[in-house]
C-alpha cells in the first residue's frame, strides 16, 4: 500500500510553486506599485524555495514509495527547471506591463486592475513550470497527460496576454489550435498503449511490454501507440513533423514568452518522451528472421528507432536550413530551437547508457544559452518596441560592448565553439552517440553544427562586425536591470560551467539512476 503522505511530500517543490502562483496572481493586482514590483521577487523566491524543498524531500525511501519509472529523474530535472526558471523570470521582469507601469508612474494613466497582466503572467509562468516538474514524477499516463497540459495551457495564454496586438493574438490562436491537434495525437497514442498493455501505470506497462518483447515481440498496437505518442510530443519539442508552428509563434509572441517557449515545453516534452520510451525500453528487443531465429539487438525497437532517427535527422536539418535566411531574430532563434531539439533527440535514441544523461546535460546548456541570448535581447529596445532584426543589432559592440560580448558568447556557445559550455555539452552528446552505436546520427549532428554556424555567426557579425546603421542607432538599453543581470549570470555560466564538466556529466547521468530497462526487467522476471 502506498503511503499517500509520502507521495504528497514528494510534490513539495510543485506545491511551493503552485502556492506562489496563486500569490502572485493576487499581488499583481495590488494598487501599490511597490507590491506590484515585488512579483518577480516572489517568483524567484518560490523557485529557490522549490529547489530547497526538492533537496529536502527527495529521499530514497519516498521515491521507492512513489513507484516511478525514472525515480531519480526529478532530482536533477526539477532543479534544472527551477534554475532556468529563475533566469526566465528575470528575462520577463521589466518588460511585462512596462509601458503601462511607466504611464502610471508618470501620472498619465491611473491604475486599473483590469489593464495589468503582470499577476496573471507570472502566475501562468509558475504554473507552466509546475507542470513541467509534474511530468518528471508521473507514475502513470493520466498524470503524465495532465502534467503536459499544465505545461501547455498557461503558455497559450502567455503568448496572447502579455502584449496587445494582432500578431500575438494570431500566434496564440495558432499555437492553441495546433497544440490541441498534437495533444490529440498524443492522447491517441496513450489510448493505444493502454489497449496494448491493459494498464495506465508506467511500471506495470513496462513489465507487460517486457513480456511481449521476450515473447513474439511488441504488439502492433504497442508500437503504433508509442510512435503516435512520440509524434504528438514532437509538438512540445518543436520537432519534425510538428515544428511548423514554432517560427510563427516564436515571432508573434513577446520576447520573454519566446524565451519561455523555447525552454519549458521542451524539457517537459523530453521528460515525457523518455518516460514513454522507458516503458518500451532500450534493450531486450529481438528481431525474428525468416527462419524464425531471434536475433537480439540493443536499443529501442527498430521501428521506433527508425522513426526517431528520421525525426532527429530531419529536425536538425530543417531547423538549421530554415534558420539561414531569416531576418527576424526570434524566427532565427525558433529555428535554432528546432535544431537543438534534433540534437537532444540523439541522446534520447542512445538511451539510458549515457544518452539521456547527455541529453539533460545539453538541456542545461541550452537553458543557460537561452537565458543569455534572450536576456541580451530583452535588455534592448528600439522606439519602445522589442529588437527583432539583425539590422537593429548592428554596431552593438560600440554602443553596448558588454551586451555585445554576452550575445557573442551565447551565439558561439550555441554554435558550439570550445571551451564554452554549449560546445562541451555537444561534444559529450556526439561522444555518447558514437559509443551508443549511432555514429551516423553523430555525423548528421556534426554536419548540422556546421550548417548552424551560418546563422549563429550572423548574431556575432551583426553585433560585433557590422557598423552602426540608422536603425540600430535608435536601439537603447531598457531601464531595468533584470534582463541584463540574467544575461550576465548566464553568460558567466557558459564560461564557468566547463570547469565543472565532469561533475555535471555525473549529475545529469543520475537522471536514469534506478531505471530498470526492459532487458533487465525480463531478466529479473525470469529469476523469479
Amino acid at each position: 500500500m502506498v503511503d499517500m503522505s509520502q507521495t504528497v511530500a514528494l510534490l513539495a517543490p510543485e506545491i511551493v510553486l503552485f502556492v506562489a502562483s496563486m500569490l502572485v496572481a493576487v499581488l499583481g493586482l495590488s494598487r501599490s506599485t511597490g507590491i506590484r514590483s515585488l512579483v518577480p521577487w516572489v517568483c524567484v523566491a518560490a523557485l529557490v524555495g522549490s529547489i530547497l524543498a526538492l533537496e529536502a524531500v527527495w529521499t530514497p525511501e519516498r521515491i521507492q514509495g512513489a513507484r516511478l519509472l525514472f525515480p531519480m529523474l526529478g532530482k536533477y530535472g526539477k532543479a534544472l527547471i527551477a534554475l532556468i526558471g529563475i533566469g526566465l523570470v528575470a528575462v520577463s521582469a521589466g518588460s511585462i506591463d512596462r509601458r503601462y507601469e511607466e504611464a502610471v508612474a508618470r501620472g498619465r494613466a491611473s491604475f486599473d486592475a483590469l489593464r495589468v497582466v503582470r499577476g496573471e503572467y507570472y502566475a501562468f509562468l509558475l504554473l507552466s513550470l509546475t507542470g513541467a516538474m509534474l511530468v518528471m514524477s508521473a507514475p502513470d499516463l493520466i498524470w503524465l497527460f495532465l502534467g503536459l497540459e499544465l505545461v501547455s495551457l498557461p503558455t497559450y495564454i502567455m503568448v496572447a496576454v502579455a502584449r496587445t496586438g494582432r500578431r500575438s493574438m494570431e500566434a496564440a490562436m495558432k499555437y492553441f489550435f495546433l497544440g490541441a491537434l498534437a495533444t490529440a495525437v498524443t492522447l491517441y497514442g496513450f489510448a493505444m498503449l493502454y489497449g496494448a498493455t491493459g494498464t495506465m501505470q508506467l511500471i506495470p506497462m513496462r513489465d507487460a511490454l517486457a513480456e511481449q518483447a521476450a515473447g513474439a515481440g511488441l504488439s502492433t498496437t504497442a508500437l503504433l501507440g508509442t510512435i503516435l505518442t512520440v509524434l504528438g510530443l514532437c509538438f512540445k519539442l518543436a520537432a519534425v513533423p510538428m515544428h511548423f508552428y514554432a517560427p510563427d509563434v516564436y515571432e508573434g509572441a513577446p520576447l520573454p514568452v519566446t524565451a519561455f517557449l523555447s525552454f519549458t515545453p521542451k524539457i517537459a516534452g523530453f521528460s515525457a518522451l523518455i518516460t514513454v520510451l522507458g516503458t518500451v525500453g532500450w534493450s531486450g528487443h529481438a528481431m525474428v528472421d525468416h527462419d524464425g531465429v531471434r536475433i537480439a539487438y540493443e536499443g529501442l525497437p527498430q521501428p521506433i528507432t527508425a522513426v526517431l532517427w528520421m525525426v532527429a535527422a530531419l529536425t536538425m536539418l530543417l531547423g538549421n536550413i530554415g534558420g539561414i535566411l531569416q531576418t527576424s531574430l526570434k524566427r532565427t532563434l525558433a529555428y535554432s530551437s528546432i535544431a537543438n531539439s534534433g540534437y537532444m533527440l540523439v541522446g534520447v535514441i542512445v538511451g539510458p547508457k549515457g544518452g539521456i544523461g547527455a541529453m539533460y546535460l545539453f538541456m542545461l546548456g541550452y537553458g543557460v544559452m537561452t537565458v543569455a541570448t534572450f536576456g541580451v535581447l530583452a535588455a534592448l529596445e528600439r522606439k519602445g518596441e522589442e529588437v527583432d532584426s539583425f539590422e537593429s543589432l548592428a554596431g552593438l559592440r560600440a554602443s553596448h560592448p558588454g551586451l555585445a560580448f554576452l550575445l557573442t558568447l551565447s551565439a558561439l556557445s550555441l554554435l558550439g565553439v570550445p571551451p564554452l559550455f554549449g560546445a562541451l555539452a555537444k561534444i559529450v552528446l556526439v561522444f555518447v552517440a558514437f559509443e551508443g552505436g549511432q555514429a551516423s546520427l553523430a555525423a548528421v549532428l556534426l554536419l548540422n553544427t556546421a550548417i548552424g554556424a551560418v546563422y549563429y555567426l550572423r548574431f556575432v557579425g551583426a553585433a560585433v562586425v557590422n557598423p552602426t546603421n540608422a536603425k540600430s542607432q535608435e536601439v537603447v538599453v531598457v531601464p531595468h536591470w533584470w534582463p541584463k543581470t540574467a544575461a550576465v549570470v548566464a553568460g558567466l555560466g557558459l564560461i564557468v560551467l566547463p570547469a565543472f564538466l565532469s561533475r555535471l556529466v555525473d549529475a545529469s547521468a543520475t537522471t536514469v539512476d534506478g531505471y530498470v530497462d526492459l532487458g533487465e526487467a525480463v531478466a529479473s522476471d525470469e529469476q523469479r
Partner: protein, 748 residues
Amino acid sequence: MIAAPAMLSSVLALAEGPLDAHAAPELRWAGLALLLPLISGVLCLLCGWMKVRSKLPAALTIAALGGAFATILRLQGAVGETPVVINLFDWISWTWGDGSRFHGFTANVDLYIDRLTVFWMLFVTGLGTLIALYASEYMESDVGKGYTRFFGAVSIFLFAMGCLVMGGNLVMLYLGWEGVGLASYLLIGYYFTKPEAVAAAKKAFIVNRIGDLGLALALFLIWQCYGTVEYAALWKAIEAAPASSEWTAQAIPWLLMLGAFGKSAQLPLYVWLPDAMEGPTPVSALIHAATMVTAGVYLIARMFPLFIVNPDALAAVAWVGGLTALLAATIGMAQYDMKRIWAYSTISQLGYMFLGLGVGTTFGASYHVFTHAFFKALLFLTAGAVMHGFAGQLDIRKLSGLLKVPGFRLVSLLAVLGCFWLAAFPFTAAFFSKDEILVSAFTAKDERVHVLGWIGLVVAALTAYYTFRVGFRVFFGPVKYEPGDEHHGHDDHQDHGHDHGHAHGSHGASAAHGGHGHHGEFHPHGPRWAIRVPLVLIAVGAMLAGWPSYRTMLNHGEPNWVKTQVAQSSAYQGVAAESHGSHDDHAAAPTAAEGEHAHADHGHLVLGMDAHTAVGRLGSLACIAGILVSLYLHLINRGAADALRRTLMGSIATRWIVVGAERKWLVDEFYDWVIRLPLRLVANILSAIDELLLDAGIVNGIGALPAAFGRLFRPLYGGVVQGYAVTMAGGVALVAAWVIWIWLRGAN
C-alpha cells in the same frame, strides 16, 4: 636508430624510483601560485570596468606575483626528490566501456610538481614580480585604461604560464600554452592604434598557431598511443612500451618539436619574435625573452622520455637549434634597432638551448634558460629605460656615450654588465651554461651533431661581436644623442590626452616629462626607483646564476645545483645513461651505464684536448676575439665600421652578405612569396567560389527551399493555421503509414 636497444634498456633501468609520483593533498596551497595571478587578472578587469585611474592595478599585480613567488619558494622547501601530484579539483574524468586503459580520459586540474617545475617557476614568478614592478613606472604615462589592460594581461600571462609549467597533464599544458599565446598577442598589440603593433600581434599569433597545431596533434597521438595525458601515468606507460615502431608513436616527438619551435621562435617559425618587439619593453623582457619563449625548451625537457627513444628527432632538434643560433646571430650583427638586436640574440640563445636538448643535455639547456632569463631581461629592461628616457630612441647610430649622461650611469653600467653576460665572457654564468651545451655537442654519441659544436663556437664569437657592438656604440664613446620622435615616451595616445595631465600631476615629475613635448631642447630623464630597483636585483640574480658552477669549481665534485634540480625530473629520464655532458659533476645517481659512457666520452678529443678543456678555451677565445673586433670597429675607430660596410657593399661578390644580413636574409619576403601569396590566391579563389557558387547557389538556394516549399503549398496555408494543421496531421499519417508498411506488414 642504431643505439635503440641500449637506450631502451637504460630507460627501463632508470624508470624505477624518481618518477613514481605520489599524491600530496597536503600541498594544495601550491595552487596559490596559479590562483593569485588569476585573481589579480580578474581584479584588473574590475579596475578597468570601474575606470580606476591610479596605479592600483600595478600594485595588485605585483602583490599577486610576489605571492606566487613566495608560494614557489615555500614549495621549493616542501618538495622532495620524488614528484608529487596535487589535485586542485576534478575537472574531466570519464570512463567508458570497461574503464580500462584507452577507455577513459582524465584531465583534472592537477599540479605535477617535481624539481624541474619548481626550478622553472622560480625564475618565472621571480622575474615576473620584478618586471611588473619595473613596468609600474615604465607604463605610468598610460595610467587609466591602458594601464589596467597591461597589468591584467600580465597577470593572465603569469596564470597561463603557471598552468603550462605546473599542470599535471598535457591538457593543462596545452591550455596554458594557448593562454600565454593569448597574453602575448594582447601585449604585443598593446599599442593597438599603431598598425605595426597590430600586424606584429597577428603575425605572432598566426605563426604560433602552426606550432600549436603540432602540439595539439601530438597530444591526440599521445593519448592514442599511451592511453593517458597525465604525466604520472604517461611515464609509466612509456616505461612499459618505450619505443613503439608505430608511425603514430614515432610522430609524437616531431609534432611536439613543431610546437616547441613555434613558441620558442626557432627555424622555421622564428619570424614572429623580432616583430613582437612592438610590444611595451617590459613585455619584451618578461614574455619574449625570459619566460614564455622558454616554454618550448620546457616542453621538450618535460617530455624527454619521448625524445630519448627517437635519436633522429633529437638530432633534428639539435640541428634546428644550431642553425637558428647561427642565422639569428648573423642577422643580429647587422641590425640598428637595439631591441631588435636583443630579439635576434634571444632567438640565437634559444637556438643554443635547443642544441643542448638535441645533444641530450637537458641540464645544459635548462641551465642556459636560467642564466639567459636574467641577463636578457636585464638587457631588455635597460634598453627600455633608455627608450623611456630618450623618447623612444633605439637606433644605436643615434645614441652614444650614455655612461656619461647623468641619470643613466647606473642603467648603462648594468647594460654593459649584461653585455658581458650575454657574450658569455669567461667565468660569467652564461659561460658555464653554454660550455655545458657545447661540450655535449662535441661528445654526443650521435656523430651527426658534432659539427654543431663548431657552429656553436662560431656563434659564440658572433654573439660577442654584436653584443658589444651595441655596448660600445651606445654606452661608450662621446656623449651624443638624438631623441626619438615619440613625444611621451613611446606611447600612442589619441584619446589619452588627459591621462597625461593626471599622471604628471600625481608623480610630480612633470618637468622631466614635459620636456618631451617640446622639440626645442631635449632633456633625457633618468629612471626612478621602481625601474632602478628591479634592474639592480635582476643584475644580482644574473650574477648569482653562475653561483652553482662556482661552487662546483671550488668544491670539486659537488653537484651543480641546477643539475640536481633537473636530474630529479622527467627531463633526466634516460639522460644519465645518454649524457656525456660535463664530467666534473656527477649529480645524477651514477649508474653503471653512466660510468661506462663517462669513460667513452673522455675518448672524444677536440683539437687533441679533453672536450671540456677545449671548449672552455675555444669559447673564451671566441668571446674575447669578438669583443676585440667590436672594440676596434665600434669604439676606437667607428669610421672603420662604416668603411668596412662600404667596402663590402662595393663588391658584387660580398654585397649580398651585407644586404642579406641587414634585410634578415629575406626570410619574411620568402615566406610572403612562398606561403602567404599562394594562400592569398587560394583564399581569393575560394572566396570567389563561395560568393558565386556557394552563397548565391547552394546556401541561398537551400535557405530558400523552405520558402519555395511554402509557396508550393501556399494554397494550403501561407500562415493560415489550417494549412499547418493539415501538414502536421499529414506528417503523422505519413510516418504511421511508413512504419506500418515497412515493419508491421510482415510482423504478423
